[in-house]
C-alpha cells in the first residue's frame, strides 16, 4: 500500500500544510508503511455491517433552548494574533 509523492502533496494541500521537501520525502515513506499496516482492515468482508455512529447505545437528549451570556469580546480576542476593532485581521484572501 504505497503512497506516491504526488498523493502526499495532494493530501498536504487538502490538509493545508506547507510541507518542506524533506517532510514530503519522509512522509511518503512513513505513510506508506502506516497505510500498509492499517490496510489489513480491507481483508474483512463487512458488507452487512453498519458503521459505528456512536460508541454508546444512547438516545438523543433534548435540552431547553435557554439563552446564555456569551464571552465578552475582549476575552474572545484575548488570544488573537491580530485584531482590528471587533474583527480578526487576516492577510488578503485573494
Amino acid at each position: 500500500m504505497a503512497i506516491s509523492r504526488d498523493e502526499v502533496l495532494h493530501v498536504a494541500r487538502l490538509a493545508r500544510l506547507a510541507l518542506t521537501e524533506d517532510e514530503v520525502d519522509r512522509l511518503t515513506t512513513e505513510l506508506g508503511a502506516i497505510l500498509e499496516a492499517v490496510g489489513v482492515v480491507a481483508e474483512l468482508d463487512l458488507v452487512d455491517v453498519p458503521p459505528t455512529e456512536h460508541p454508546l447505545d444512547v438516545v438523543n437528549v433534548w435540552g431547553e433552548d435557554e439563552p446564555h451570556e456569551s464571552l465578552p469580546l475582549d476575552d474572545v480576542f484575548a488570544n488573537a494574533p491580530a485584531r482590528e476593532g471587533d474583527l480578526f485581521r487576516v492577510p488578503p484572501t485573494v
Partner: protein
C-alpha cells in the same frame, strides 16, 4: 514554621484528612508540593508550568496540559498553542475548582496527546521516576510521573487510545479511562472526539474513585455526556467473592507481551482467585488483530478534522504571509510537530475522495465488530483482565524514529477504547525492577465493579507505588 509534609507517599485521601483536621492548611500543602517539584522535577520534567498560589481550600491537583485552565497557559504540548491563555475553564477544571482543589500546575503531554512516551511534546520529554533514562509512557506521562514521584497527590489525564492507562502502568500508579460519555470534554483540546475521555490518575483506587466522582456526570456543554446510572462507591471490600473475571484466550499468542509482564499478570490473576473471584476464558480475536489498524484510521481521521481549527486566525501561532492561504499553510507547518502532521496527513488521506470507503468507512465498520465482540466477551463476566501495556517502560529514544513501533505500545488498551468501555490500570508487580500494569475492563458504566476488584487486589498485592530510587 510550616509543618513538614512528606508528599512522596501521601495519598489524596490522607492529604484531605490532613487539611480537614487542620494539621496543614491548603496553602501549606500546596507549598509542600511546589517544594517537591522544585527538588525533583528538574530531572523528570513532569510539569510544563506550576501555579504558585493555592486557589482553593482543599488539596492540590495536577492537570494535563490539554485541559483548559482559565488564566493559566494551556499548550497541549504544541508550539502552535504557545502562549495560549484560556479565558474559561474546562468543565473538569471547573468541577475540581468547585470541589476546592487547588491547581498545582499543568503536566507534560505528547503534542495534542498523540503518542505513547511524551517524547512528542514540543517542550521535551518527561522522564520515568523509576528510572530517568526511560519514558514515563504517554501521552499523559507528565501526570503519571508527577503522581509517582510525589509531585501531585492526583491528577487528570485524557485518554484516546491508552493515554491514561499506559502511563499509569509504566509509572506504577492507578489510572482510570472512564466510560465514553461519563466525563465532559468541554474545554479540553480535542484529538479524536468519538474516543477522547478525561480520567483520574492517583496512587490508590479509592483516590481514583473519589476524583472520578468529582468530575463525572452530565454537562450541558458536552452533548455526549450523560448522568451516571449509579453513584460512585468508594471501594472498601477486601474480598470479591463470586466476581467473574474473563481472560482473553488470545493473550497467550501475543508475542509482544514480555515474559516479566506475563508473569506479574498471571500472579495477579491467582491472587484474584484467592480473593474469591472466579476465572474463565473469553475471546477477543478481532480486537487484537484489527484494533490497532482500526484505531489508526478512525483517530487520525477525527484528528485531521479537529486540528483544522489551528489556522492562525483566532488564537495560537501565526506565521505571517502575503496571502491568507499562505499564512494558514505556513502557520500549520511551523506550529505542528512531526506526529500531529503524520496523523493529519493520514487522516486527511483516509477521508479523501476515492479512499474514504476503503479506509475510514471500513474502519468504522470494523469498530462495530469490536463493540459487538466486547459485548459478547463480557456477557458471562463482570470484568475482563489483561496486562495494560505489553512491555515495561522503554528507553527514551528507543521508538522515537519508528511510528509503528510506538503505535504498537497501545495494542492492549486500544480495543476497549474503540468500544467505549471503562478501563482501570493498577500496578500489579515489577518486571526487572519496573512497574507492570494490570488492566481491568468492564461494561459501560461498570466503574464501581472495576473499583471494587481493583481495590481488593491493590490491598492484597501491597505494591509500593513509590519508585525504589526515591524511597
Amino acid at each position: 514554621m510550616a509543618p513538614v509534609v512528606d508528599t512522596l507517599r501521601l495519598t489524596a485521601e490522607d492529604a484531605i484528612g490532613l487539611v480537614q483536621r487542620g494539621d496543614v492548611s491548603a496553602g501549606e500543602l500546596h507549598a509542600a508540593y511546589l517544594e517537591a517539584i522544585e527538588e525533583r522535577d528538574g530531572e523528570l520534567h513532569a510539569y510544563l508550568r506550576t501555579v504558585e498560589e493555592a486557589d482553593g481550600a482543599s488539596i492540590p491537583i495536577a492537570l494535563k496540559d490539554v485541559i483548559s485552565t482559565r488564566g493559566v497557559e494551556t499548550t497541549a504540548g504544541s508550539r502552535i498553542l504557545e502562549g495560549y491563555v484560556p479565558v474559561f475553564d474546562a468543565t473538569v477544571a471547573a468541577r475540581c475548582r468547585a470541589a476546592g482543589l487547588t491547581l498545582l500546575g499543568k503536566t507534560n503531554t505528547d503534542e495534542f496527546a498523540m503518542g505513547s512516551s511524551t517524547e512528542n511534546s514540543a517542550w521535551g520529554p518527561s522522564r520515568n521516576p523509576w528510572d530517568p533514562a526511560l519514558v514515563p509512557g504517554g501521552s499523559g506521562g507528565g501526570t503519571a510521573a508527577a503522581v509517582s514521584a510525589g509531585l501531585a497527590p492526583w491528577g487528570l489525564g485524557s485518554d484516546t487510545g491508552g493515554s491514561i492507562k499506559q502511563p499509569s502502568a509504566l509509572c506504577g500508579n492507578v489510572g482510570l479511562r472512564p466510560t465514553y460519555g461519563s466525563v465532559s470534554r468541554f474545554g479540553v483540546v480535542a484529538f479524536a472526539s468519538s474516543l477522547d475521555q478525561i480520567g483520574p490518575v492517583a496512587k490508590t483506587v479509592r483516590d481514583v474513585a473519589l476524583l472520578y466522582s468529582i468530575i463525572a456526570g452530565r454537562d450541558r456543554c458536552d452533548s455526549t455526556t450523560v448522568e451516571l446510572p449509579e453513584e460512585v462507591r468508594l471501594p472498601e471490600d477486601e474480598r470479591v467473592d463470586g466476581l467473574r473475571i474473563g481472560v482473553p484466550r488470545q493473550l497467550a499468542d501475543l508475542d509482544a507481551i514480555e515474559p516479566g509482564v506475563r508473569a506479574a499478570f498471571e500472579r495477579s490473576l491467582e491472587l484474584a482467585e484467592e480473593l474469591g473471584a472466579e476465572l474463565g476464558e473469553c475471546d477477543l480475536p478481532l480486537s487484537y488483530r484489527y484494533g490497532m489498524p482500526c484505531y489508526y484510521l478512525v483517530a487520525p481521521a477525527e484528528a485531521s478534522s479537529n486540528l483544522a481549527r489551528y489556522d492562525g486566525v483566532r488564537y495560537g501561532l501565526r506565521t505571517e504571509a502575503d496571502t491568507y492561504d499562505g499564512m494558514v499553510e505556513r502557520t500549520r507547518d511551523d506550529g505542528f510537530g512531526p506526529e500531529p502532521k503524520r496523523r493529519i496527513m493520514l487522516g486527511t488521506y483516509a477521508l479523501s475522495a476515492g479512499y474514504y470507503e476503503a479506509f475510514y468507512g471500513q474502519a468504522q465498520k470494523v469498530r462495530t465488530l469490536l463493540i459487538r465482540e466486547h459485548r459478547e466477551a463480557l456477557e458471562p463476566f463482570d470484568v475482563i483482565a489483561t496486562p495494560t501495556s505489553p512491555a515495561v517502560a522503554f528507553p527514551i529514544g528507543d521508538k522515537a524514529a519508528d511510528p509503528l513501533a510506538m503505535y504498537a505500545c497501545d495494542l492492549l488498551t486500544i480495543p476497549s477504547c474503540l468500544a467505549g468501555l471503562p478501563g482501570l490500570s493498577i500496578p500489579c508487580g515489577l518486571s526487572d525492577g519496573l512497574p507492570v500494569g494490570l488492566q481491568l475492563l468492564g461494561p459501560q458504566f461498570g466503574e464501581n465493579t472495576l473499583f471494587r476488584l481493583g481495590h481488593a487486589l491493590e490491598r492484597a498485592l501491597g505494591f509500593d507505588t513509590v519508585p525504589e530510587r526515591l524511597r
